[in-house]
């Protein structure tokens, strides 16, 4: 028997269009982590990232009739997420970058609510702290990139998207995507070369 998890994205979208709630759930389960991951690394605020990710899915499902089946569903989803996030960033210039919580968080509770929990697997306490520190520095370095560079490089190297798909998602020419990724990589390389624990060239 074919389960929902076995079905392709397009098959699930077809079922959603006929009102199948379980198909919608499966799509949410399938894409919540990648979408949240990109959005979080764009906005640097867990609570805001969750709101934006949630809004992305709601808009996606409530506008399924506008979805063009010739595009990949994931491209369309990421495009909605990207547009929402860019709109948010335009409205609100982010001042500082931290995995320890939103720059607007004043109280300890607010900081805890907006900070992110990094999932670093089963490691010894020392190794875990070191790994978290390095991860934090990496996040800081990614946060220093221009928003467009950040999106492009994360889609390419974290989500493994093709250049053409990134161009579609960000609505920019293919050549521009390549330039963004090249520059982002160079800047990251420069920023990361100073870090402890970062592999030497």
């Amino acid at each position: 028997m074919v389960t929902y998890a076995d079905r392709s994205d397009k098959q699930l979208v077809g079922l959603c269009r006929r009102g199948d709630e379980r198909a919608a759930r499966e799509l949410v389960e399938r894409f919540q982590r990648p979408v949240f991951s990109i959005v979080f690394r764009m906005v640097r605020d867990r609570e805001k990232a969750e709101d934006l990710t949630q809004e992305t899915f709601v808009r996606t499902f409530n506008n399924l009739d506008r979805y063009d089946r010739s595009y990949k569903f994931s491209s369309w989803l990421f495009k909605i997420a990207y547009n929402l996030t860019v709109d948010h960033l335009r409205k609100k210039e982010l001042r500082t970058i931290s995995i320890h919580g939103s720059p607007d968080a004043v109280t300890a509770d607010q900081q805890e609510a907006t900070s992110v929990t990094l999932e670093s697997g089963q490691e010894a306490p020392d190794a875990r702290i070191e790994s978290l520190e390095l991860a934090g520095q990496l996040e800081e370095a990614i946060g220093k990139l221009r928003a467009e560079y950040r999106t492009a490089i994360l889609l390419r190297h974290v989500e493994g998207r093709a250049y053409e798909e990134i161009a579609e998602i960000m609505d920019i020419p293919l050549g521009t995507v390549k330039t963004y990724i090249f520059r982002a990589r160079r800047q990251l390389r420069e920023d990361l070369s100073d870090l402890d624990g970062y592999p030497e060239n």
């Binding site: 269009r17 006929r18 990232a49």
Partner: protein, 201 residues
């Protein structure tokens, strides 16, 4: 894809990524160039290191219950059987009449089939078409009279009046209007569906 590479031609962004991710697939000429070009060699190292670092970024996920929170806000089209139930609930009189007509037709059909077991499907179809034509004609006459009553004369004269060309045309126009209206409502219901709020389970 392979081009005759002169030693002064640097690797493109795609070739740098290929050299980093799948070195065996990069043509030998390119590797000869890389052997004598510090810039391309450094480029490959950059791509390799930055990709590795980004690939190892800690996973970030939304808080538990994310799917439920999304589904509480998602509106999917109703499946056809639930849509039919909604229509039936909203238009109880019409549904009861439709059900009665269906039941009468079913019972009539069953009795007919019992009485004339030798009846062939084609003959039955022909009989049904004939009955439907008669019904339509009777309805036309009835509606024509009604139009005549409403528009032209007093009730007593109208009911006793013979069918005229004017009343027939008015009747047909009324039938056409009602049919087009009903059809368009049905098409809209079937195509667009009725949005519902899917509640979190």
């Amino acid at each position: 894809m392979n081009r005759n590479l002169a030693t002064d031609k640097h690797l493109t962004a795609d070739e740098l990524e290929l050299a980093s991710a799948r070195p065996a697939e990069l043509a030998d000429e390119h590797w000869i160039h890389v052997g004598s070009c510090q810039r391309c060699a450094a480029g490959i190292a950059d791509v390799r290191e930055v990709s590795a670092v980004l690939r190892d970024l800690p996973a970030v996920s939304p808080r538990p219950g994310f799917t439920e929170r999304v589904m509480a806000r998602v509106r999917l089209p109703l499946p056809w059987h639930r849509r039919a139930l909604v229509v039936a609930r909203e238009r109880k009189g019409m549904s009861a009449a439709a059900a009665a007509v269906c039941a009468a037709l079913g019972a009539g059909g069953a009795m007919w089939a019992i009485r004339f077991p030798e009846l062939r499907p084609l003959a039955l179809a022909s009989w049904v078409a004939g009955q439907a034509g008669d019904l339509l004609w009777q309805a036309t006459i009835g509606l024509g009279r009604m139009a005549y009553v409403l528009g032209l004369a007093d009730v007593a004269t109208a009911i006793g009046a013979d069918l005229t060309l004017g009343s027939a045309v008015a009747g047909l126009a009324t039938i056409a209007l009602v049919s087009i209206g009903s059809l368009s409502v049905m098409i809209r219901l079937v195509r667009e569906g009725q949005p519902i709020l899917i509640r979190a389970r």
